[in-house]
């Protein structure tokens, strides 16, 4: 009986330790995958939002049609589908960063916008480079970038918008 009692206790303690280790592992990996899932969900939400914004910029003249930085309700940069209008680009550069975020409805994110030629060189409108916002640092982990080909005069250029949290 003495030996039987000892064996029973050791077996039990051993199995409890193994069980607790396995359970801890399960909880640990569960939490990792939950946070990955939430991050992925947020990244997808931002991607969908950026697609909508880029659609809006390159397919719509904005509201009102001849908008400026004071009366703008909806930002659009083209005169017709994918044809950039210089006046609208200038007006867009004059809209403040924070107001632009509010109009795009990406208040909780930062963004960077630019228009470059197909070789990556900056384009100027009325003497200034067409870029808005701060270039994202390399530390930003979840940057989403959308590029669209548009016409600037007769040249094909690239409209690029990036956002991150």
């Amino acid at each position: 009986m003495y030996r039987k009692g000892q064996l029973f206790s050791l077996d039990f303690i051993g199995s409890v330790v193994v069980f607790v280790l396995i359970l801890t592992g399960i909880i640990f990996f569960w939490n990792i995958y939950t946070s990955r899932f939430n991050a992925q969900l947020e990244r997808e939400t931002l991607t969908f939002q950026l697609v909508k914004i880029s659609d809006l910029l390159v397919e719509n003249p904005g509201i009102p049609t001849q908008w400026n930085e004071t009366n703008v309700e909806v930002i659009g940069l083209v005169s017709s589908d994918r044809k950039l209008q210089v006046d609208k680009l200038s007006s867009f550069m004059n809209v403040t960063y924070d107001k632009t975020k509010t109009l795009f409805n990406i208040d909780q994110y930062d963004f960077y916008f630019r228009i470059v030629d197909v070789n990556g060189a900056f384009i100027k409108a009325n003497g200034q480079f067409i870029e808005k916002g701060a270039f994202p640092g390399t530390a930003e982990e979840s940057i989403v970038t959308i590029r669209r080909i548009v016409l600037y005069g007769t040249h094909k250029v690239v409209l690029e918008i990036s956002a991150w949290k």
């Binding site: 409890v16 569960w30 939950t34 969900l41 909508k52 659609d55 809006l56 930002i75 109009l103």
Partner: protein, 125 residues
């Protein structure tokens, strides 16, 4: 008799510990099961929200006179001042970069979405 008594005490201790372990396990499973159900509902409503906000954008960008009908699986409301589409009483919201959308509350079922002079008008049919 003495030895049997000792064995019973040990047994009671083991059963007690097992009881607490399984109680903890039950609580853990219950919590995680609830988390999964909530996540499932979030993904489902989020999917519906994103899809419907894409429909709103498509109708807006397609220009005056665009009309389509679509069925909704949840109640929805668009809040133009916040540029937000709210699904199932704010259970999930998604951002839309335009405010030219009617704020009529929509109940689940078929809705008509129409672009009237760059204003997206939505109503149940």
């Amino acid at each position: 008799m003495k030895q049997r008594g000792q064995a019973s005490m040990e047994m009671l201790f083991v059963i007690g510990m097992l009881f607490f372990i399984f109680l903890f396990l039950l609580g853990f499973i219950f919590t995680k099961s609830k988390d999964i159900q909530t996540s499932e509902r979030i993904v489902d409503t989020k999917n519906e929200c994103v899809t419907f906000s894409n429909v709103i954008m498509a109708v807006f960008l397609s220009g005056n006179g665009t009309y389509l009908e679509r069925s909704l699986a949840y109640n929805m409301t668009f809040r133009p001042s916040q540029r937000l589409l709210s699904v199932d009483n704010d259970f999930v919201t998604c951002a839309v970069p335009i405010n030219q959308v009617s704020d009529t509350p929509l109940v689940k079922g078929v809705v008509a979405i129409e672009n009237k002079n760059s204003m997206v008008v939505m109503k149940n049919v």
